[in-house]
Symmetry: C2
Subunit: 460 residues, 2 copies
């Protein structure tokens, strides 16, 4: 740590006392996420309690040119929170208040450190829910920053569609509010969506306004097992192409089902399996379920196994959300290298089947789960990050999978983001447009203090 | 025109011959839109035939620091196409090809100069439609540039939700492609949504990739008349709050109904009226229609008058789309000054009723139509732009309506954009965030050649 950083941190400590920490365990915890990426602890962690405090801290960092790394739940998967150039990690988890809920307008405003499960608990008594649900219990701010999605995006969209506005602390410590409460607006550049998915590189998100939904009258969930992954995916493709408005349609391959049975205590046939959910009226969901069951049958799917009460349904989706943690248990002490490609739905079968073939020839265990209704799936390659052969093999497979997806018109990341792990792939996918992103970055963060080393190669 | 502009235009003419025009009638036609804003003809018009040609022209303009104004159908309402600083209007209407349609992935890619009705004609035989439908037969590029919406946004979203990607010529003449065909992506900054709604101030949009929908099995449309505007709006609010997925729900006040009956030959009771449409299955649409009819009844609405066949339905929506042209006929030789506020749905009744009260005390004729399911409505104030009293009165009402909407948590423009007309209101609505927009603008267009005088006060 250089002298300027040291004196900046001392200044911050003089203002906020014990909420500025340099204890080793706190630094270590804030330098790592849930992935295989090597950790990099920050020089200090600031536990902020308000937007003004975040602005104050960022102003000090700006004056001293010290890097700023926003930190929520630490559940990202591309090394987003690693302090690659040192600096100050700003922990937002104490900023976890629900500031406002309007049932009449189906919207709310929350602090960025609130987690999605805590929000769900607050909304349920009012008959409301927020549909974006990544596997982890991430913070809403982190979800906005990585443009997260989850199992319900096929029906309700991702953070892109469901964030109405933001409060953001900029690189110079100034505070702006973006967006608004109107359902649509043509007033000026869409700064909300510029910051959604900017991964802490353009500002620190401190508050988020969200679009909510009413809890549907009927929620019906089922699983359906298939003999081959191809049959399962063909069922998904037909369902989507027919425009059947499934609320969720998720794939687990047989490796993942085995892992989930073991970890979550489910008792599913160890075959490629779809988890499906329908939202709507009694008649509407019954119609939709019948239609999907018929499609599944033509592809050799088993009879739907219904999760008949709300406890069974919760257990089912908890198992789905815990899929990654279940996968990690397949190989003791492993870390996950998780791919995240997303392709146009018509190319999904091809993409998945060829990926599966790659994996069959590999030494790595690698279960597959997917938000297949969106064309998005994850291969969780279980590796020992200290074993160079395993790292090289995962890297090789990762590259094959991404290059295939991009060649099919897809993207290297559907929902995890670029972080430190996909910088080269962002360039492959977007070519000259990345230069435009860098121009925007340089304009809004001229000294490159915001989450440096992420999304782009170093900007000097 | 200065010497540099003159020689630049001569150079362009040497390359493209008669597709570069300086004829007075062509210049006049390209300097005005459909609104009350005073026209400002460009120095020349270039009828471009390809993205490369646009890039070539913009490169010449960049070298000579000559303003560039993209031109589509000229149907904007805030003076977007007026050449306030002179320069080159680039007319994109010859770029009207459909480049690709994928029924399997429900997407397409078109050139920016294609109009929405021409696209609809191309898609219908494949059972597809594109849901964004402003009143005018605008170009798809213009719709993207102004973040347009229309009558179906309540169900299907606006250009923000329905543009998958863009080809854009930047201020230096370079070409980028943004977005992609995957349904979601977390790869980098959301440049697509940065350019959507940027009104030609960040680049010239030359191609647009769109998300499409399958034409629903059943389409059912009806009108319903009410005694008061309040009753009509309360019906809308309850419908939206109950989450009934109406495909369209539009309000015409009694003044507009009278205008439309006269212009479009409809025969509607001259009362505040909702135009409503349902999309879905036989059972689903019947359920929804019953539910909305019940709500309307509790608010004193008349029985639904159904447009029973597809010709009646088309006539109904053509009348709705022609509302502005019908309004203009109420006052011979008038121009329209059209407001465009959008508020959270719970504040819509209050906002509309108070606006109506303002209008009752005014000398101007001013029918109201609204995309009320989104909380968005238009007051078309019919004025003689050469009469300072009428202009002053329209300006006063406009200010009252916008300030009320913003105070209620709304926006000064739901779908028309800022253009030259709402620069001060953008500042009122977004405060310090406008400075961030200007930083982005300056970074991407350092010499301010792209549609200068729009969205922001001059950037020196």
């Amino acid at each position: 740590m250089d002298e300027q950083s040291t004196s900046m941190i001392e200044e911050l400590r003089s203002r906020y006392g014990r909420r500025v920490s340099t204890s080793k365990s706190v630094l270590d915890q804030h330098g790592r996420d849930e992935s295989h990426h090597l950790p990099a602890p920050p020089d200090a962690v600031f536990f902020a309690a308000s937007t003004d405090e975040v602005a104050d801290a960022v102003s000090l960092c700006a004056a001293a040119k010290v890097p700023v790394i926003p930190f929520g739940a630490g559940t990202s998967l591309e090394g987003h929170v690693a302090a690659l150039r040192g600096g100050l990690s700003i922990d937002l988890t104490a900023m976890n208040r629900v500031l406002e809920v309007s049932a009449a307008d189906l919207d709310c405003r929350v602090e960025a450190g609130l987690t999605r499960l805590a929000l769900a608990e607050r909304l349920a008594p009012q008959g409301l829910f927020f549909p974006v649900d990544p596997g982890a219990d991430a913070t809403i701010g982190g979800m906005a920053a990585t443009r997260a999605s989850g199992t319900s995006a096929v029906r309700y969209g991702t953070m892109r569609e469901n964030v109405l506005g933001l409060t953001v602390v900029l690189a110079d410590g100034s505070i702006i509010r973006t967006g608004g409460r109107a359902r649509k607006s043509a007033a000026g550049y869409d700064l909300t969506r510029l910051f959604v998915g900017s991964e802490g590189t353009l500002g620190v998100i401190t508050e988020v306004a969200l679009r909510l939904r009413g809890i549907p009258e009927v929620i019906a969930a089922a699983t359906c097992a298939f003999d081959t992954i191809n049959d399962a995916v063909d069922t998904v493709i037909e369902t989507i192409q027919l425009g059947i408005p499934v609320a969720r349609i998720e794939l687990l391959d047989e490796v993942q089902v085995r892992a989930s049975n073991r970890f979550s205590g489910t008792d599913l046939p160890e075959k490629p399996t779809l988890f499906i959910e329908f939202h709507g009226s009694e008649a509407g969901t019954a119609d939709e379920a019948r239609a999907v069951a018929e499609i599944a049958e033509t592809h050799g799917g088993a009879k739907f196994a219904w999760a008949t009460n709300s406890e069974d349904r919760s257990a089912l989706w908890r198992a789905r959300h815990d899929a990654y943690y279940a996968a990690l248990q397949l190989v003791p002490h492993s870390k996950g290298w998780v791919t995240d490609v997303c392709v146009p739905i018509s190319r999904l079968a091809e993409c998945l089947v060829e990926t599966k073939r790659d994996l069959e020839g590999s030494l790595l265990q690698a279960p597959i789960v997917g938000h297949v209704g969106d064309g998005n799936f994850h291969v969780a390659m279980l590796i020992d990050p200290d074993d160079p052969d395993q790292v090289a093999e995962a890297s090789r497979l990762n590259q094959r999978i991404i290059e295939r997806a991009v060649a099919l018109g897809g993207t290297c990341t559907g929902e995890h983001g670029i972080g430190a792990g996909k910088i080269a792939y962002l360039e492959q996918e977007h070519g000259p447009a990345v230069e435009v992103m860098k121009v925007v970055k340089a304009a809004l963060d001229p000294h490159s203090i915001l989450n440096p080393g992420k999304m782009f190669r170093d900007i000097s």
